[in-house]
């Protein structure tokens, strides 16, 4: 096989290789992963669709600029460890990103084959291949030096220097990236997490049916083997402050506390029984495993008719969770149209396949209760699309006097989040921007305090897993440079 890619545009269009999924009627009865992943043959077929462009445009679409051509090239040769090593040099959680990145607007959105799908069969399924490589590699790892291989793709990591201490606050993807990177260089990292489980949104927000918790646990276990210490139930700003961490000998502190404060809509009836933030609903189900109540103790509110307000990933996750918990009718209430929904395309498609109903072009005006203050219905304002706004999306405008009522006994509000002030208020000298997020140097991640770094949603506002990890990696590189000098 010649490696030089002559102008070998595929003769006939080979369509994207489908990913096997659990059929909709079956999957809404369980909480198991929906997309089942490629087989070796599927992966080979899909990898061979990549034409190994001289100037691969796909790479510009990836927020961490993964050498996509490189890893697919390895895969074309059947070299899974080689492909993993390429991925791991850019991305600390490829098994996660392969599953949750909004590929259609990132890497795959830029793939040359996506430009003319009728002729080419569509963009290379980069995310699915990434997932295949990471899962296959992990499945082949066994004991021994596996942890370092998993974290770095290299055979061995450095011994830990116990005096080089770094602390991370929050245990989401940004902090996990910092911890993994520094631990592989022999730096002693301690991660402080407020909740009782490690992983951030990956464990309390994104449901099992989209991202099995086992995958996050596998990564965390590998980090533990490399000497990373996880302290759960520690709230930064309450149990420990940034200053105390330095007093305790830390050379640098990374803040990756996410943007977890739920926003409400400030419409009448929002505190009625049956009205939840998506954060509460998903945290009960995912962190508290309420889908397995009463085997697990955390209860969850159930209803026949459910409305989820919002159009992003969080709304999709809440709606599909409600279906799995036995709701008869679940509607997504969104003020624009399907085309403007910020959710990952695959999630929206899966939600519709599963029977989620879309109530488009309407916005809640009131959450109406019965005489016991239990939610009974929602009054919505009908909308139409006007001129594009700053984000380029057409602005929804109310149609004066045109309202309707949607019956529902459970409403889940997924209209965005804000930064949580607990740690920020307890950290003197930490500069915040107008919206209350941390100001950090875009190159190094350093905040207004020397040797205090920050990254992920607490800097950018709610964004993506891969961008949080990218920020973590930039900060980790800078920290390593400062601590190890030329050695890094």
């Amino acid at each position: 096989m010649s490696a030089t890619p002559e102008k070998k545009a595929p003769k006939k269009s080979t369509p994207r290789t489908n990913m096997p999924v659990q059929p909709p009627f079956a999957r809404i009865q369980n909480y198991l992963e929906v997309a089942l992943g490629y087989s070796e043959a599927d992966a080979q077929a899909e990898a061979s669709r990549c034409i190994q462009c001289k100037k691969p445009s796909c790479r510009q679409g990836c927020p961490v600029e993964i050498d996509i051509k490189g890893f697919i090239g390895q895969l074309q040769k059947g070299d899974v460890p080689g492909a993993y090593k390429v991925l791991r040099a850019y991305n600390s959680l490829p098994s996660v990103c392969g599953r949750v990145c909004p590929q259609e607007t990132q890497c795959e959105g830029m793939c040359i084959l996506g430009k003319n799908p009728e002729k080419t069969g569509g963009a290379v399924a980069i995310g699915r291949l990434e997932r295949f490589v990471a899962d296959t590699f992990a499945a082949r790892l066994a004991g021994g030096d596996a942890a370092c291989l998993q974290i770095t793709g290299e055979a061995a990591c450095r011994m830990t220097h116990d005096e080089l201490k770094v602390a991370c606050i929050g245990a989401g993807p940004s902090s996990l990236t910092v911890a993994g990177y520094l631990a592989s260089l022999g730096i002693k990292v301690t991660v402080y997490e407020a909740l009782h489980e490690v992983g951030g949104v990956l464990v309390y927000g994104i449901p099992e049916f989209r991202l099995p918790k086992e995958i996050v646990r596998r990564e965390v276990d590998a980090m533990r083997e490399l000497g990373v210490e996880f302290k759960t139930n520690w709230v930064g700003g309450k149990a420990i402050t940034v200053q105390e961490l330095f007093d305790d000998g830390c050379k640098a502190v990374f803040i990756g506390v996410g943007a977890g404060l739920p926003q409400f809509m400030h419409v009448p009836g929002e505190n009625n029984i049956g009205v939840f933030s998506a954060n509460e609903y998903l945290t009960r189900v995912n962190l508290g495993r309420a889908y397995d109540f009463p085997n697990y103790d955390t209860p969850i509110f159930k209803a026949d008719e459910v409305c989820v307000i919002g159009g992003g990933n969080v709304a999709m996750d809440a709606a599909r969770t409600a279906l799995r918990l036995g709701a008869k009718k679940v509607s997504i209430v969104y003020r624009r149209t399907k085309a403007e929904m910020p959710a990952r395309l695959e999630e929206l498609e899966h939600a519709i396949e599963e029977g989620v109903n879309l109530e488009l072009l309407c916005a809640p005006l009131a959450l109406n209760a019965d005489e016991n203050r239990r939610l009974a219905s929602m009054t919505v304002q009908n909308m139409k699309l006007g001129e594009p706004d700053a984000s380029g999306r057409r602005r929804p405008e109310p149609i004066e006097g045109d309202t309707r009522e949607i019956p529902c006994q459970l409403a889940i509000i997924a209209v965005g989040t804000k930064p949580n002030p607990i740690l920020l208020e307890a950290t003197r000298g930490l500069a915040l921007n107008k919206r209350g997020y941390i100001e950090a140097n875009p190159e190094t991640g350093e905040t207004s305090i020397h040797n205090v770094f920050a990254g992920g949603d607490i800097v950018t506002g709610a964004a993506t897993v891969i961008s949080a990890m990218g920020a973590g990696r930039r900060a980790a590189k800078e920290i390593a440079k400062r601590l190890l000098g030329a050695e890094a």
Binding site: W234, K238, A239, P262, F293, P294, N295, N420, I422
Partner: protein, 283 residues
């Protein structure tokens, strides 16, 4: 595993228990008014309990709880030497304590335990603390002796008259407010109806009234909104904005309803637990 139980004291058999937990980092930071969130097991629910006392030198935190459902019933089966699965704190805003003169601290039921820590804080600040403690009968009274260690006055009310005033704490409070015009603050901690009643009594006197809201919580750090309460017409998160609020502004009716949100599942969980216990399953 840490968070070991160093001491267990049954205050009212089958009902109220005191545990002293080994948690140095929590003890170091805990202030009156703070609470913890704990889980008994890997499958447990996160439940909030007030820090009733702490000893930073010994590294211990004391909690006192009433058995009301599955989690507290399970907690009550723990013995000295066993460890809790999770123990997170200190959480919530500490009580605002300043030198201000006379402070009346009213406690009902298990709420007396939480009130005890706050009363201690006020006494340490040099305030004249009057404790008013209520229960159904004298056998259910809690913390009277401990309160006596730093409160010059401990007034008692029992529903059946078996000790102290025959009637409610609110009657004792009202009488006291009528006699003493110099009371600068009333703190009330206990069942929701009791805090509501206290707030009604103090209103005409115009005295500052602080109550501690026991809303249902999940994370305890402001990330879920489960604990939202209406105070002065605004939505507040009890875990981070509170748990203490101005009793004259709290919508107690809403709080009571929100506390019943999961009633049917709680009952299911409790029945299952009792069933298991009676079968002698486990050890």
């Amino acid at each position: 595993m840490n968070y070991r139980i160093l001491e267990k004291k049954v205050l009212i058999p089958g009902q109220t228990t005191l545990l002293v937990i080994d948690a140095p980092h929590v003890a170091k930071k805990a202030k009156p008014g703070n609470f913890v969130i704990l889980r008994t097991s890997e499958k447990g629910e996160r439940i909030p309990l007030t820090i009733a006392d702490c000893d930073p030198d010994a590294g211990t935190v004391t909690i006192v709880f009433l058995v009301v459902g599955k989690s507290t019933a399970e907690l009550n089966t723990f013995e000295e030497g066993q460890a809790l699965h999770d123990f997170c704190g200190p959480l919530g805003r500490p009580t605002h304590i300043e030198k201000q003169g006379t402070v009346i601290c009213v406690g009902g039921g298990t709420g007396v335990a939480a009130m005890h820590h706050i009363a201690k804080g006020h006494a340490a600040m040099g305030n004249h603390v009057v404790a008013i403690v209520g229960a159904r009968n004298k056998d259910l009274l809690l913390f009277c002796n401990e309160l006596g260690n730093f409160c010059p006055e401990v007034l008692i009310a029992t529903d059946d008259g078996s000790q102290g005033h025959h009637g409610f704490v609110t009657e004792v409070l009202k009488q006291r407010l009528e006699e003493d015009k110099d009371v600068s603050e009333v703190v009330a901690i206990g069942p929701v109806p009791m805090m509501e009643a206290v707030s009604k009594v103090t209103k005409p006197f115009g005295v500052k009234t602080t109550v501690s809201l026991n809303a249902i919580m999940v994370d305890g750090i402001g990330m879920c909104g489960a604990c939202r309460c209406t105070v002065g017409g605004e939505t507040k998160f009890a875990c981070v904005d509170g748990p203490e609020f101005d009793g004259h502004k709290v919508d107690f009716g809403e709080l009571r309803l929100r506390l019943s949100q999961f009633r049917s599942q709680e009952q299911e969980s409790m029945q299952l637990f009792q069933h298991k216990c009676h079968c002698g399953e486990g050890k």
